[in-house]
């Protein structure tokens, strides 16, 4: 058996009274892919951050090559050949790929030998079939390509032998995931050891040699490939005794809500952050009591579209209507008053104040606030929230927890629940299930269906085609600088949709529903 490179013994990490990791034993052998799976908040990311030295551990030992490490931080980890590919890429958008790679190589001296570095990047790129052009400026690249740069940075460090990936596929388009997993296997075959954190089971089943399951901060079990992975058993270990609520699909009837208004886009165009017209000639309606799904490869204007409908981004052409009222380029404040709610792509960045408690964050466009003596009536808010099913269904963390100490998944559930209890009229949900586990995804879908029943006009942006087919009444496809559809989801196969997403143009024979 190959030697153990990296190992933890009885690792415990507490944040205040909260135990994120409880006595976890974990080890990584040379040339294996060891996946760590678990629900949101199971402690996966915390464990990785301890392994990489970002968080100091509360108790327990970290061993490298069998030696206990008393001092441990990211610099020491890098020196020992352990590298981490972060979810949020640490790249400078204005620089080229080569320049970004140069920044990360500390032994490269003070002068940039472009020619040689470019050659190395190309070699590495060819060897593992990465698509990295050394001369491309990073801001022009999509998230998948940026991820490749991060990987190349690590591979070019000669001593790298462990690669830690934290939810690597969350930034990839569906068609890129297969290639990514193949790449992981080829790293393993070249002798790298890989830790893969993900909540997507089929990915793990495809590549992992071992799977360690964490639940509520504890290690529950490690599965070995040679024993044969049982999907059901793995799911059971991940979920514990939880019952997975089944998705109930209900039919919508647009005529049931006479007062509800549709949001209509008429020949709308928006710019991206680089002042390029990323979308134009947008013509579609979001009808009350209907879920309009938006499919597309990431970076095709999803975020810009959502922001434009919410009023957080100016439109440069066309009109946006709410019912018969022209609301083009009104402020988010006005639109919030009209019932617009938005769950953004990155709740941590856009929806959450890190220094606030969960309760305080729930007050930012949550239920209608009551005031007492000039202050928010916090007790009344807490009382009201405790009575709402959404808070329990979406497992919103304790109200007194400070947001900054919580995982991304926790905060995402909080912001989804917050939008749900805020009496919305128009709901714009960006990637509502990204990074969430099966049970929560179902709860999110339930919530969307319930809002639909109440006549809310809903727009759902997702990269998960399966999800869109399940929840959408109509499907819109963003590609090639515009939108196609809306289509009846049932009228298209996944392949047809995939083709449109890639090509950026609808085939002539496909007619709009």
């Amino acid at each position: 058996m190959e030697p153990i490179i990296l190992q933890t013994k009885q690792i415990t990490k507490r944040f205040g009274n909260f135990t994120a990791n409880d006595k976890i034993d974990f080890d990584l052998r040379k040339g294996e892919i060891h996946a760590i799976a678990g629900e949101n908040g199971a402690g996966k990311s915390t464990l990785m951050k301890i392994l990489y030295g970002v968080y100091p551990r509360t108790e327990g030992d970290i061993l490298v090559d069998g030696e206990v490490q008393t001092e441990w931080n990211p610099n020491l980890a890098r020196a020992k050949g352990i590298g981490m590919v972060f979810q949020d890429f640490r790249l400078i958008p204005a620089f080229t790929v080569t320049e970004n790679v140069f920044l990360s190589l500390r032994e490269s001296g003070y002068f940039l030998n472009r020619k040689e570095l470019k050659k190395k990047i190309r070699e590495m790129s060819d060897r593992y079939e990465l698509q990295v052009d050394p001369d491309a400026e990073v801001w022009r690249l999509d998230l998948g390509q940026r991820q490749h740069i991060e990987i190349i940075k690590l591979l070019l460090q000669e001593n790298t032998r462990v690669l830690i990936f934290d939810e690597p596929t969350s930034v990839l388009a569906p068609h890129e995931i297969g290639a990514f997993l193949e790449m992981l296997s080829s790293f393993r075959d070249s002798g790298y050891s890989i830790i893969l954190i993900t909540h997507k089971l089929h990915e793990i089943l495809a590549v992992a040699d071992r799977i360690t399951i964490l639940r509520h901060g504890e290690k529950v079990r490690t599965f070995l490939r040679e024993d044969g992975f049982s999907r059901d058993e793995i799911v059971e270990e991940m979920m514990g005794q939880q019952v997975v609520p089944p998705v109930k699909e209900q039919l919508s009837d647009p005529n049931r809500w006479p007062d509800a208004k549709a949001v209509s886009l008429r020949d709308v165009a928006v710019l991206d952050n680089y002042h390029r017209r990323i979308l134009e000639h947008l013509n579609f309606d979001i009808l009350p009591g209907q879920i309009l799904g938006v499919a597309g490869i990431s970076g095709n204007g999803q975020a810009e579209l959502a922001e434009a409908i919410f009023g957080a981004r100016k439109t440069v052409a066309g009109k946006i209507l709410l019912g018969n009222t022209d609301i083009t380029n009104t402020s988010p404040r006005k639109r919030i008053a009209q019932g617009f709610r938005m769950i953004t792509e990155d709740p941590l960045r856009d929806n959450v104040v890190p220094t606030f408690t969960i309760l305080e964050n729930m007050a930012l466009v949550g239920p209608k606030l009551k005031y007492r003596h000039g202050n928010v009536d916090w007790a009344a808010l807490e009382e009201e929230l405790k009575g709402r099913d959404e808070i329990h269904d979406l497992r919103v963390p304790e109200f007194s927890r400070v947001s900054r100490t919580l995982s991304g998944g926790n905060l995402q559930r909080m912001s989804i629940a917050r939008a749900a209890v805020s009496d919305p009229k128009v709901m714009i949900a960006c990637y509502p299930s990204r990074g969430l586990d099966v049970a929560t995804v179902n709860a999110v879908h339930e919530m969307l269906f319930r809002l639909r029943e109440e006549g809310v006009a809903i727009l759902v942006i997702s990269e998960d085609l399966q999800e869109l087919m399940e929840v959408s009444d109509k499907l819109l496809i963003l590609a090639g600088g515009g939108s196609m559809g809306p289509f009846e989801p049932g009228s298209l196969t996944e392949n047809e949709i995939g083709r449109m997403m890639l090509k950026g143009g609808a085939d002539d024979e496909i007619t709009t529903a």
Binding site: R14, F15, G16, N17, Y55, T58, F310, A312, S331, P332, R333, I336, A337, M342, T344, R349, D350, N351, V352, V353, P354, T355, F356, E360, A363, L364, V365, L369, Y371, H373, G374, N375, V376, T405
Partner: protein
């Protein structure tokens, strides 16, 4: 039961008192080295510091006088900091307000009874301070300029504008040609206490500090402000009018610096001189920074910096060192503050 004590382990620098102590002791040690190198006994110098601060009720009163301004100019820095802006212009806002109050108090309000005139003079000071801060707001919001640089530059402009006025149109015709305004009518001056120069202003300063705390933590306005300060994007996505909130808070902070200017004139000074209130605005910014922009902790912080300022005069006389030397001690304090005081809590 597991040992809970281990969890409670906090970073030493999390203790505010300890931070203040370090900010106090480290510079004294470093300054001592400087004194020794100049052949001066640090013991004598520090004895002088202690006696010049605690020597008599009068000297303690002098500390309180300075703390009065510092608390207010610290609040003028704290409020904008809570909405993600930096106001380094307390100095200019305070002295412009002082000039306006000195003029108004010696002309249109000179014959008006104090019950009416004094509150109105505070309004004058607040409006003048807010207006001066408003220039920076316009530069920031309309021209997208950096507010720190704007406010610092506006301090210089304020200084020169005031000099220009004091040597020109505002000069007291019966003032033996000194660059100063006509004295404010005596019935408009604030009452003094304990035979010192401490005036009613200290109570106003303390009240403002408490009010700032209450507004920040106990009102919906404060909640909006903390939202903006905590995450501007989240504030925008929750419908906060960012520019409006930031601009109003910035103007309000100018008004608070204006209160300091009003107290300067109606309290100790009585008239505007070219160097009246000098450095108090600037030091207020540091008073606030030293305690991580906490309105309540700014009060002891103001007393400490006020004490160092008072001690400066005494040391100058006792050691024979040039006036500028005392600035070194104060700057050492400020550098230590930057190294220790501003540190955020650790995870």
């Amino acid at each position: 039961m597991k040992l809970q004590l281990l969890d409670k382990k906090t970073h030493l620098l999390d203790h505010m008192w300890l931070r203040i102590l370090i900010c106090f002791l480290a510079p004294i040690f470093l300054f001592g080295i400087l004194l020794v190198s100049q052949g001066i006994s640090p013991i004598l110098a520090y004895k002088t510091i202690v006696t010049s601060v605690f020597g008599s009720t009068y000297t303690i009163g002098e500390v309180v006088v300075r703390a009065t301004y510092l608390i207010l100019t610290a609040m003028a820095a704290i409020l904008p900091a809570r909405v993600g802006l930096a106001n380094a212009g307390g100095e200019g806002q305070m002295t412009i307000a002082a000039t306006a109050v000195a003029v108004a108090g010696s002309t249109i309000f000179a014959e008006v009874p104090a019950v009416i005139a004094v509150p109105l003079l505070f309004v004058v000071g607040m409006l003048a301070g807010a207006a001066w801060a408003g220039i920076a707001v316009i530069c920031k919001q309309l021209l997208n300029m950096n507010e720190i640089l704007c406010t610092i530059l506006l301090n210089y402009i304020a200084e020169y504008v005031i000099c220009f006025l004091l040597y020109g149109v505002l000069k007291d015709p019966h003032g033996w040609n000194y660059p100063q305004t006509v004295e404010v009518a005596s019935h408009l001056r604030l009452p003094r206490y304990f035979g010192t120069r401490v005036t009613f202003g200290i109570f106003i300063a303390l009240a403002v500090a408490i009010l700032v705390w209450v507004v920040l933590y106990k009102t919906r306005v404060g909640f909006t402000m903390r939202t903006v300060g905590g995450n501007q994007t989240a504030a925008r996505f929750s419908g906060v009018r960012l520019k409006r909130v930031q601009s109003l808070v910035f103007a309000a902070s100018g008004a608070i610096a204006g209160i300091a200017g009003t107290i300067l004139i109606l309290g100790v000074e009585g008239r505007m001189r070219t160097d009246a209130g000098a450095t108090m605005g600037f030091m207020g910014f540091l008073t606030a920074g030293m305690v991580g922009n906490s309105p309540i902790w700014a009060i002891p912080s103001a007393l400490l910096i006020g004490a160092l300022d008072v001690a400066g005069n005494g040391v100058e006389i006792a050691t024979g060192l040039p006036a500028a030397t005392m600035q070194i001690l104060i700057m050492l304090v400020l550098l230590t503050i930057m190294a220790v005081g501003g540190k955020k809590k650790h995870e």
